[in-house]
Every structure is written in structure tokens, then in C-alpha cells.
Amino acid sequence: MVCDVCKEGDAVVQLTQIEGTGVRLLHLCERCAAERGVETNASAPKPQISDFLQSVHQAMQATQGDAARCAFCSSTFRDFRSTGRLGCAHCYDAFEKSMRDLLRRVHGSSQHIGRKYESPASATLPDGGTANELRDRLKRAIESEQFELAADIRDRLRGME
């Protein structure tokens, strides 16, 4: 079906206009629909992921260098800035000031007031979990060329073995 207005484009929108007591049905192409302020799909401004990345960017400029690094997972603040994802739970402490600023921007507060949680006293890592965990950290430290940290982790592993 062609557009009722320009008689050229394919009609993609059906516009029901209420005029006084009568009703008029218009078939419009995308362009003519847009000219009448009708959106061709029901969309408002896209969700705010870009706003979020902008906040990340601002938080970073305000406080911390890109090179700041988490000693547990070897992620840098630059990694976080480029992916929007932290490497591990310890990153929150490693980049504490930036994270606090960022959380305040995103949520309006950095203070959790929901359910409290305490780790179960009996929760243990599976057999050898700790040594495995150290081995993973060692590999990550070597991959990211953090040799001092790697040497430290290697010593701790030797101590365990």
C-alpha cells in the first residue's frame, strides 16, 4: 500500500485521526509519519546504558588513574572503563573511591540499606579450592605482567604445598 500523503513511500503506519465526531484513517510512509510526529515503533529514549558509561568516564576523571589495578584479579580501572564490568568483588575495594562516586551517580547513594548478609561459618571452598584459586590468580598476574604480585602468589602457593 502506498502512503496516503506523498503517494510514493510504502505505508508502514496506520494513523487513526479523531476529528470532531468523525474519524479518519491515514496510511503513512515512515517519512510522512515522522513529519506528523508519529513514531514508527513505540520507542522513547533508549535505556540509559550510555549515561551509565558516561558516569563511569566522569568518575574515572574525577578520582583515579586508569592504571589502578586490583590485586586479586589483576583488572585495571581502564578495563572497567572499557567494558563496564568489574573483574571481581575485590575491585570494589581496589577502586573504592571511584566506585563510591560512581554508585552515588548511578543510584543516588552508595550505602546499602537492604538485607544484610553474613557468610555461613561452615561454608568451605571445595577441596583444593584455595590452591586452585591462587593458581588462577597467578596465571592472571603473569598474563597482565604483574611480576611482583605473581612472585608473591607463587611464594604463598609454595607455602601451602
Binding site: 584479579c73 546499602h112 561454608a123 579450592g129 588462577d136
Partner: protein
């Protein structure tokens, strides 16, 4: 091939249209994001770490109350078709199913499914606990996921921070880790062009909306997922009460818009809705987007009581079972696009005819 009939209630109990406002609200979903202490987050973790996370969760699950134990599906060991099938059924996220070619499925990806709740393992966060309910049932959904969370949190140590709360890979989820989403059908507001105002209003009050499949998905068939945007600085109860109030208001606006449509453009609306129904009843080839769009009209017609011999449950079922992977699953083979369109039209005709007790 994955046999979904083995799952508790087929994983689709939430389609039964039993909750409040079933013709407008399809479902309520609440998820809690949790991570285990001692590992990098799933995106940063090595393969071995993710497998150890899974085994630690498996160990914990095996000692849990029977109703929370569920069926474990190893998503990382499934062929792509089965992963897509689980995703179409809203049982796993796109990320866990590894459906983006740039982000293939990761080792240790798994999901536990119970009646109404589930736990995704090694998604963006180590654990994504979810509860899915039919219609608008925010407090029921929350109580279910909370019970699961309490039991699991007693068995594995979650990463928790006194100031920042539950720690998550993306800081937008930190604090409560809670995201509550209401899947809602708003054709009245779309047809009266009120929708842009309503959606902009949502964003002003700290809520957000997405398409049918959550983050990053397009709005199709006038289905919107409304959810809380912030997760920190307010208690779980506050977040949920607030969402309930706003969603109730949106439902009222939708009901008003429907009245206006019937009053001011009655025959045009009726004609549009019956034409949509006619197409679904008799078309011989239908794309999924067409089905969504016509189903939206028919759903509105059922809500307005113009069509009285169709159940909302049937309409919900069509939303899920007319998707490509479900059709291929039913046919027992891969389908080309045109074969899928033909199979889809046939399936829709059959279900509508069965429900209304008429000939196909």
C-alpha cells in the same frame, strides 16, 4: 534433543494467566544477582574457575530443600538449537545461552530449574536467582526468590560489602542485586499515542523499560518490561512497593486509553482487531513479528471482551510456542525461514481452532 516436558511444569507455569490483571500483565519476574567469594566474576574467571563455581553450587544444591533443588541443565554442553529453545522460553538469558556470535557460550554455564524459580550459574554474575510468576504478583515472586536465596546463601559464601551491599559485576546491580520486571501489554497507550509520555515518565521516576526479552531487546507487539533502575540505597521492600505503585498506575492509564479508543474510534478499532484475528485464523504463512503484532490486537480484543471464546492462556502460549526454535523442536528438524513461516501459521490456526472449538 532437549526434552522440556521433563522440566517442572515445562518451565512455563507462568503462562497460565492466573495472576492479577492477566490480560494486561503477562508475568512478573524478580531476580537477585549474587557472586561467590573467592573467585573472579564470571566474565573475568578462567574456565577452571567457572567449573569450580558450578561444582560448589552443585554441592550446595544437593543439600537443599527438595522444592529448591530443581533440575540442572548444563547449558555449555548443549547444541545451539537447545540453547535457543531455552532462551525463547525465557528460562535463560541471551548471554548465558551464548547466542551472540561474538560471545559464545562459556564453560560452566548452567541453569537450575524448579517450579517457578531458577538459578542461572556463570551468567554475568556467578548466580542469578529468579522467580517468575503469572500476572502481577510482585510480593509472591519476591517471597519465592527470597526463600531460595536464603537457603543457598547459607551454603555458599556470597560476596557482600557493608557499604555497597551484594557485589556484582556491573555496578548498576550492586546493593540489593534486585531487579523486578513486569511484562505488560500496552496497546491502548500505543494506539492513543500516550506511550512516549508514559515511558519518559517512568525514566523520570527511576524505572526503566525494555522489550520482551529484557536488556537490549526491541519492543514488539506492544509488550514492555517495566523494571526498577536503581538497586542500591533503598531496601528491597521499598523498591518493590514503588514498582507496584507505578505499575498499578500504568495499568489504570492503559484501561483509560482502551475506554477512549472504544468511545472515540469504536468501529475502526473493532475492525482492526477482527482483521488481525481473521489473519491469525486463516493465514498460511506468518513471520514471528506478524504473529506478535496480530496477537497484540487479539489480546486487546479479548481484554475489551469483543472476542469472548479465547483464553488469555492460549494467547500467552502462542507468544512462546510460535517462535522459530519451538517450531523446529515441534517438527523435529531444522526449518528454513519460509518453512518456519508456514509451520507457524499452521500452528497458530490449530491452537486458535482448538481453543474456540471450531474448524481449522
Amino acid at each position: 534433543m532437549l526434552d522440556l516436558s521433563l522440566l517442572p511444569d515445562g518451565g512455563v507455569g507462568w503462562l497460565d494467566a492466573s495472576g492479577d490483571h492477566p490480560d494486561i500483565v503477562i508475568s512478573t519476574r524478580i531476580r537477585l544477582a549474587r557472586n561467590l567469594e573467592g573467585y573472579a566474576f564470571a566474565g573475568r574467571a578462567r574456565d577452571g574457575e567457572r567449573l569450580r563455581i558450578l561444582s560448589q553450587v552443585q554441592q550446595a544444591m544437593s543439600t537443599m530443600h527438595e522444592m529448591h533443588r530443581g533440575v540442572l541443565l548444563r547449558v555449555d554442553e548443549m547444541p545451539p538449537d537447545d540453547r535457543l529453545l531455552l532462551h525463547e522460553r525465557h528460562l535463560v538469558s541471551r548471554e548465558l545461552a551464548g547466542l551472540d556470535p561474538q560471545r559464545p557460550v562459556r564453560s560452566g554455564s548452567a541453569v537450575y530449574l524448579t517450579r517457578g524459580t531458577s538459578v542461572m550459574v556463570n551468567e554475568e554474575d556467578h548466580l542469578r536467582l529468579q522467580s517468575l510468576e503469572s500476572g502481577l504478583r510482585i510480593s509472591e515472586a519476591f517471597n519465592n526468590v527470597l526463600a531460595l536465596d536464603a537457603e543457598l546463601g547459607d551454603r555458599v559464601p556470597y560476596a557482600f560489602h557493608n557499604e555497597f551491599g551484594f557485589l556484582t559485576a556491573c555496578p548498576t546491580n550492586a546493593g540489593t542485586g534486585l531487579r523486578a520486571s513486569v511484562l505488560i501489554h500496552l496497546p491502548g497507550l500505543v494506539l492513543t499515542k500516550e506511550i512516549a509520555k508514559v515511558l519518559a515518565g517512568l525514566q523520570q521516576v527511576g524505572l526503566t523499560y525494555r522489550g520482551l526479552y529484557g536488556e537490549g531487546s526491541e519492543v514488539v507487539g506492544n509488550f514492555f518490561q517495566i523494571s526498577n533502575q536503581t538497586t542500591l540505597g533503598r531496601s528491597e521492600t521499598e523498591l518493590l512497593d514503588y514498582l507496584t505503585r507505578v505499575v498499578t498506575h500504568v495499568i489504570e492509564r492503559e484501561e483509560e486509553a482502551r475506554k477512549v479508543l472504544l468511545r472515540d474510534a469504536g468501529y475502526i478499532i473493532e475492525d482492526k482487531l477482527w482483521r488481525a484475528y481473521g489473519t491469525l485464523r486463516y493465514a498460511r504463512s506468518l513471520t514471528f513479528d506478524e504473529v506478535m503484532s496480530y496477537l497484540s490486537s487479539v489480546r486487546l480484543a479479548v481484554g475489551l471482551k469483543l472476542i469472548t471464546d479465547l483464553s488469555v492462556y492460549t494467547l500467552n502460549k502462542l507468544l512462546i510456542f510460535s517462535q522459530s526454535a519451538h517450531l523446529a523442536h515441534a517438527e523435529g528438524r531444522d526449518l528454513t525461514t519460509s518453512e518456519a513461516n508456514i509451520a507457524r501459521a499452521k500452528y497458530v490456526r490449530r491452537i486458535l481452532a482448538d481453543d474456540t472449538g471450531s474448524t481449522r
